[in-house]
């Protein structure tokens, strides 16, 4: 376990160093993405200005929601960027290089790629979470709760991503399918959390866990809702365990196209 962790860190370091070689492009990607993320905040702030509070959500909650969604997405794309390329790797037949690696396949795959712009997402997310905590006058308990919840939001996001990408092993042209399902999962995570009520809320917590990324964390922190936080913890662990099982099972479906390449 310790060896895998050290390997993952070294792999991530290598990814960052190689991306930073093109310095201007590297920084433009980071700051461009951070600016780009303001769009959703503007949309929901305009909506709140026009119609008032929805489901008890204020403008600060909207900022917190975008903060959590951006940070979790950015973290996953930065440090587990390879996971999001599984469909491309499988369809091109280059998955062989991961199978033949002496390291843990999932760790090796996850840390094989870094999306530079995702660092901008993380930066933007961290700033938004900071603003959100400041605006709601967060106390010590809320700050600690934020840090704990962030870990489990990342865990559920990673788990669902692994599940989606595991589907790649069952299709001949998996890229369109995985991208579509990911879209279905992640897009609602960016929507105004207060508007998810009744059966729609149930669906997006228990079936498609989009609300576990941003909406549920924000509600837990704003109102110190420990039950919601506990639900998030339980579901994220369940998703993560299920995803590892599904991935290991799905790998057996992989058919090598005998396209051997050396690792990056």
């Amino acid at each position: 376990m310790k060896k895998e962790f050290i390997f993952a860190l070294e792999s991530i370091q290598k990814n960052i160093r190689s991306s930073a070689e093109l310095r201007t492009s590297f920084w433009m990607n980071i700051f461009g993405m951070a600016l780009n993320n303001i769009a959703f905040i503007l949309i929901w702030v305009f909506l709140t200005q026009t119609v008032g509070s929805i489901g008890g959500w204020t403008v600060y909650d909207v900022i917190g929601l975008q903060g959590f969604s951006s940070f979790v997405f950015g973290f996953s794309m930065s440090f587990n960027g390879g996971l999001h390329r599984t469909s491309l790797i499988v369809s091109s037949g280059t998955f062989d290089q991961f199978l033949t690696s002496p390291k843990n396949i999932l760790v090796r795959l996850a840390t094989s790629y870094l999306h530079v712009s995702a660092i901008g997402d993380m930066l933007f997310g961290a700033i938004c979470i900071g603003i959100y905590l400041y605006m709601i006058n967060a106390g010590f308990t809320q700050i600690i709760l934020t840090l704990i919840i962030l870990i489990f939001s990342i865990l559920v996001f990673t788990g669902v991503t692994i599940c989606i990408q595991a589907i790649s092993f069952y299709f001949t042209d998996p890229d369109s399918v995985t991208r579509s399902i990911f879209e279905l999962f992640f897009t609602p995570a960016l929507f105004h959390g207060g508007a998810f009520q009744g059966p729609v809320r149930f669906i997006f917590i228990f079936i498609i866990p989009s609300l576990l990324i941003g909406a549920l964390p924000v509600e837990s922190i704003t109102h110190l809702g420990y039950l919601k936080a506990l639900l998030l913890v339980i579901l994220s662990i369940a998703w993560f365990i299920f995803s590892i099982w599904l991935f290991n099972k799905s790998i057996k479906k992989y058919e090598s196209s005998n396209f051997m390449t050396f690792g990056q």
Binding site: L22, T24, S25, M28, N29, F31, G32, M33, L35, N36, I38, A39, F40, L42, I43, W44, F46, L47, Q49, T50, V51, I54, S117, D173, D175, S176, V177, R179, S180, I181, E183, L184, T187, P188, F191, H192, A195, F196, Q197, G198, V200, F204
Partner: protein, 254 residues
Amino acid sequence: MMIRDRMAYPGRLIVDTFGIVARCGVLLFLYQYIFKIKGGQINGINFTTASWSMFLYFSFMTLRLRDISSFIMQDIKSGTIEILLAKPINYLLYRIWWQIGAGVYPFLVVSFFGSILLAFLVGVPSTMLSLFFLLSFSLTFIFSIIISVLIYSLIGLLAFWIEDIKPLFWIVDKTVMVLGGSYLPVALFPPLMYQIALWSPFGAAQFITHTVYTTWRFDYLKMFGIQILWIVILTGIVSIVFRRAHKKVSVNGG
């Protein structure tokens, strides 16, 4: 040729369909709730009108006109632009028609089935049931295509000077998304934002979303005027930038 290509490989269509379901479908549920708790009317529009306004935006996006930026950037980065510029064709027109051709099939399929489904689920606003709507919508739709293509071509051409245009593309694309009335119908904008959406090229590229409002009948001439103005301005800018870019390219025979 591009339409036949898209029919043979339905991957893009699957992505587009799921994209619409994920965005538009979930938005419908959310806005249904919002309109319900606010008494059925917000800023003079009801849920049906808001739904169609957003649907028109997402359906228009399946034309994927914005992809022209990345294709131009790829041509420049890979050096293919040298070959294309040496041919007896206008490079920009070639790229524009190629892009439109690539998007027509998913656009027609998604729009046709999406319209039927939406009409079945939320009904059709009375503003859409007239010959005036059909004619004015068609005209603003064409203008919207031209403005979109010009904006995104301009971003693509900047790849002659900037190493990576992606960050610039994201910002412009998101500005079109916000001001075009994607996730928030333009009728629900605060007054200042509405004015910015009305007078900026980013909002003008999506005037099709205004066509379902009752105000469209009174404002359509002004909006046509704004669109034509932006077409003239953007055409001028794109021509100048393209001419300057052309001078930067050195085509070597071999």
